[in-house]
Amino acid sequence: MKRILYTAAAMALVAGTAHAQDYTMGISNTVQGNGWREEMICAMKAQAADSGMVESLNIAHRNTDAAGQLEDLRNLIEAGVDAIVLNPASPDALNSAIEEAAERDIVVVAVDQGVGAEAAYVVSNNQEEYGYIGAKWLFEELGGSGDVVYMRGAAGAAADDDRNAGFQRALEEHPDINVVHEVFTGWQQDQGKQQILDFISTGIPFDGVWTSGIDNVIVDAFLESGTPLVPIVGADNAGFVQQLATVDGLVGAAVTNPGSIGGAGVAVALDILEGNPPEDRIVLVQPEIWANNTEEGMANIEAAQNPNLDPEWPVSVTIPGFTTYTMEEIIACNGPGES
């Protein structure tokens, strides 16, 4: 009898470890062909492969609306995945599918932006802090008074709302700062460039520009139109970081917003599958600010230069404490079983 029990226990152990090696994971993303999102997908693949615990990734990655993401999520549920990591198109519209996944014991982790459904964990860059520290740096750079152009992201996106909350908080702390122009770039490079060129041509004076990550084209617009440079806040996209290091007379700051948050989401999903959920439902990764007029910031900017990196990718390709893959692995962008 004892022997049978031991054997059973041993078999259970073997089965347990065997199971840990062959999770299937679903990925859902609704923006295709955007550098930040492509880095996110590659980080997800690299982390899944590096963990050694994921047998296959099922990636639903296309340009669609929230209804299309609902369709993708339900198809992933039907495919019988163990966990789904998604970048939500909307904070509210996906709750029904997320609850359906939870009913089937599928772990759901939203990355980059939050979702309302309590069943999902959220691993996100702290977007409010992102908005705040960039705006605070800009307002202090202007000596606490002046006119700024405020170039937001996409209307209605959760990340844009949160960044706006941070921006407004910084604005309240600096009452002599005046927003002379507020636009939504839709996080589109061409649109943002046209908007700043249009505004420059109105001749209304301004002292600084805050951008929600559509940054290198703004610097280009100043250079191409011969407009004197003003302080510019952007994200840690490779192109902008390079401009911070090389463009004469440009004073600016990059606020980190790693697309590798996707890799962190995969890591958290695996932790939950292994029975170690994070303490809080919402895990926030704090941004850093790299200003090119401070020694520390410039050191970060210099260190981040990497000619192998796609210019539209954010330069912070790993998130210490979460991701375990190497720079080479994320650039190779191979998921489990690919080479």
Binding site: Q32, S56, L57, N58, I59, A60, H61, R62, N63, T64, D65, A66, A67, G68, L70, E71, D72, R74, N75, L76, I77, E78, A79, G80, S90, D92, A93, L94, N95, S96, A155, G156
Partner: protein, 315 residues
């Protein structure tokens, strides 16, 4: 008679294709069950109405490129007006939105008839107009759809008969069957086949075209409503429904140029196209390849439809 037979042959072919795809699905995913079909039906719902609307516009000899934008107007109007409203109010809102859909479609039709500018140009312009209207109503995703409406499309009355499928079939039939059997239905086919012959037979061409576009607007409003019902909110930016609707209508046997086809084929075609997407996800096909496959199917189908239209014109 031959024409009728050919249409039925097309529909029967689609049924066969759907069953073949179902077998493929079962092969890819042996555990595929009624819940998989239920999600398929829910995903197909907005596409079904968009396609029905597009099919009617094509039948009368035109095309409506503003279908997705009209859906957006309907979805944001419903979500904004229903926020915090009771059951009674939300029923009223449903009828109001359907009325707005009819009006939008009638405006499209009237502009085409009055200006004599080609349908494709007018509705392309209206695509932007209705998109702007949707953004004016709601500049970012928001609002809330009445919970009972969201519940309506969930679940199944019988296994393999999802509520969403019933709503699609009943919704299209309630509008289309009476029209198809009336003088107006005959007139739509007559104008689509040969406007001159229809005119000489005493058909009111202008009125028929305006009516057909109004029906298209009504179906678009139904599509927008179901879109909002599935997400629970209104989204002002039009989704990927325009090209999908054209592809499904043509795959469904509606001939570009007008006069030939029905609405049964297009509805089957919607299910087929959604099932292709589901199979590609279940089979875990590389996402970039998935887009190529979907795009190739759509282009192939539209091209095939175009060739068939040319041939039927020659013969």
């Amino acid at each position: 008679m031959i024409r009728v037979l050919r249409n039925q042959a097309w529909v029967l072919g689609l049924v066969g294709l759907l069953f073949a795809l179902a077998l493929v699905t079962k092969a890819i995913q042996p555990t595929y069950s009624a819940s998989g079909f239920e999600s398929l039906a829910r995903a197909a719902l907005p596409f079904a109405f968009a396609t029905a609307g597009m099919a009617v516009a094509i039948l009368v000899g035109g095309i409506d490129l503003s279908v997705a934008s009209m859906m957006a107007v309907a979805s944001v109007t419903a979500a904004v007006l229903m926020e915090g409203a009771g059951v009674g109010t939300s029923i009223g809102v449903v009828f109001l939105v359907l009325g707005i859909g009819l009006a939008m479609g009638a405006i499209n039709g009237a502009l085409i008839v009055v200006t004599k500018v080609p349908d494709i140009v007018v509705t392309l312009a209206m695509l932007y107009v209705w998109e702007g209207v949707a953004l004016l109503i709601l500049n970012a995703p928001g609002g809330q759809v009445a919970p009972w409406l969201q519940q309506l499309i969930r679940g199944s009355v019988l296994p393999w008969v999802p509520n969403a499928l019933i709503l699609a079939v009943v919704g299209v039939a309630i509008v289309w069957v009476p029209i198809r059997r009336s003088k107006l239905g005959l007139a739509i086919y007559a104008v689509g086949s040969d406007p001159l012959a229809a005119y000489r037979s005493g058909v009111n061409i202008a009125g028929t075209r305006i009516a057909a576009y109004a029906i298209c607007g009504l179906f678009s409003a139904m599509g927008g409503l179901t879109l909002a019902m599935s997400t629970g909110i209104g989204e002002p930016i039009p989704g990927p429904y325009l090209l999908a609707a054209v592809a499904a209508a043509v795959l469904g046997g509606v001939v570009l140029g007008g006069g030939i086809g029905g609405l049964v084929g297009p509805l089957l075609a919607v299910l087929i196209l959604r099932l292709v997407r589901q199979d590609l996800t279940l089979a875990s096909v590389d996402p970039n390849v998935t887009t190529i496959v979907e795009g190739t199917i759509m282009v192939g189908v539209v091209m095939l439809g175009g060739i068939l239209a040319l041939r039927s014109r020659r013969s």
